[in-house]
Symmetry: C2
């Protein structure tokens, strides 16, 4: 109704729809390495927020931006804006307001989405017996981070793939309809697969058994290392969700028709958090994932 | 509908209402001096966002918080939360989500309000002949800033008043109904009176004559200095608004009944930006206000 240029913007929320709101801040050196391109910073800042909307089965509606930077650096701003608006176009979400200020580089984005009344998906709906589904390969973004920070060397094509996974995460907007229709619970993988599925278990008061070798770990390294990245690495922005076992076959069929590959990686149980590794069982109950205040 | 603890929160927007959205970031050393109490940082961060809603005649609805700080400092967080929730209670606006991350201290808040459909007030509606109204004393917050930074000394009671004006700004939620009913245009005074009224003139494509000695400048210093603070100082969060001359008398009466004092400080004209100083006229056209990237 009213966009940028006033104290606030005005939005009309369509009848029968609810508003889904999320907000994430990205800090230089913390959420992206210092050598990240401004274009990628712009793109990713929006993408990670859109991913939170996807995890609730919400369709992108609008976003607000607040950017803090040391100086009014025109080159940076040009690149940043290009990446930001590339993502805004791709995910069909308009910028409606925000502010700019001086300080150490950080970007806050508040994104809002719409869902039909009561049709949102949360972390709270997982039920014992549910299948745990994952929307794609994990571990590549964390490998990309170590590659950009020269902690390891990948071959050229792996490097390109992994750094792109890190810098240009693709929120799974193609899953929104499937999630709305089939998911009991959902979360996007931002902190790491084990940690994020742990959030579903905690909020739903249930347990789970994961099947390690069903998890689509990005294949760059020897087994022991790739699973470390796949299970603990953050920033992949795939979606983990749970569905009732009796609609599992239908879900796979519908997904296939839409060209979407889904991976069944485990099952919801009454309690506990375990991972099957071939013939052995590992306890994940005391696992600690990526900590935003950690080392 | 759904609050903190998921990827996003869900809000039901009442029928016939529109959503007004704003977002502001406060950076340590830039928007508050380093010696500001955590309680005051918490309070002010929310207050300035609520003030943006007030300027649009929107009633506070919800807010999201993203806080970046160097360490998980419990003392800071306790104080910050206390001030934040004090403001949240006072202005009747619930926190529904957000995130915390590590980095140089800064606080981003996105606040949303509600207005009856089409009843919001913008910077664009000022008309030649409109009276320019101001909701209260200006200049105290800027004096408070210089006092906290020991650039000047005030007496004890002035110091207390001015530093409180800076650290605990009072968004004029009491004006929302009046603005909705009477205002052609409105803005909150965050950058300075001359600069902010300048925004109304620019957006409305009109001019103005201000009457300097009708402006309620905080009375601490000799004339030449207090008007400098009153005209150019930011952070007062009073509201400047314009009303048709024929409802002026009614407005004053209604305001008085609600215990609200309003100051008539000038008039909207076709073009130009002037200030009457007794018998002389000063041109404000090339005036530059507080610049967030300035010195």
């Amino acid at each position: 109704v009213l966009g940028i240029g006033d104290d606030a913007a005005v939005m009309a929320v369509p009848k029968g729809q609810q508003l889904v709101v999320t907000m994430d801040t990205l800090v230089a050196g913390r959420h992206f390495p210092g050598n990240t391109l401004p274009e990628d910073i712009g793109y990713k800042s929006l993408a990670v927020n859109v991913s939170d909307l996807v995890a609730m089965a919400a369709t992108p509606f609008y976003f607000l931006l607040s950017i803090t930077m040391p100086n009014a650096d025109e080159d940076f701003l040009r690149g940043f804006s290009q990446g930001l608006f590339e993502a805004a176009n791709e995910f069909a979400i308009p910028l409606v307001g925000g502010d700019t200020c001086k300080g150490p580089l950080s970007i806050s984005i508040q994104a809002s989405g719409l869902v039909d009344e009561g049709r949102f998906v949360t972390r709270r709906g997982a039920k014992p017996g549910d299948k745990i589904m994952l929307s794609g390969v994990v571990g590549a973004a964390a490998l990309g981070l170590d590659s950009m920070q020269t902690k390891l060397r990948l071959n050229a094509s792996q490097q390109a793939f992994c750094e792109n996974a890190l810098n240009r995460p693709q929120p799974r907007v193609d899953l929104i309809e499937l999630l709305k229709k089939y998911a009991h619970s959902a979360i996007d993988i931002s902190d790491g697969l084990i940690a994020d599925i742990g959030h579903i278990l905690q909020q739903s008061a249930v347990g789970a058994i994961l099947d390690k070798y069903k998890i689509p770990a990005y294949e760059a390294l020897a087994d022991y290392q790739r699973y470390d990245y796949a299970l603990n690495g953050g920033d992949d922005y795939q979606v983990a969700f749970t569905v009732a076992p009796d609609i599992f076959a239908e879900l796979l069929q519908v997904a296939q028709q839409s060209g979407i590959t889904l991976y069944e990686i485990g099952e919801i149980t009454d309690s506990g958090y375990l991972m099957k590794e071939g013939a052995t069982m590992r306890d994940l109950a005391n696992f600690r994932g990526f900590d935003h205040f950690g080392s």
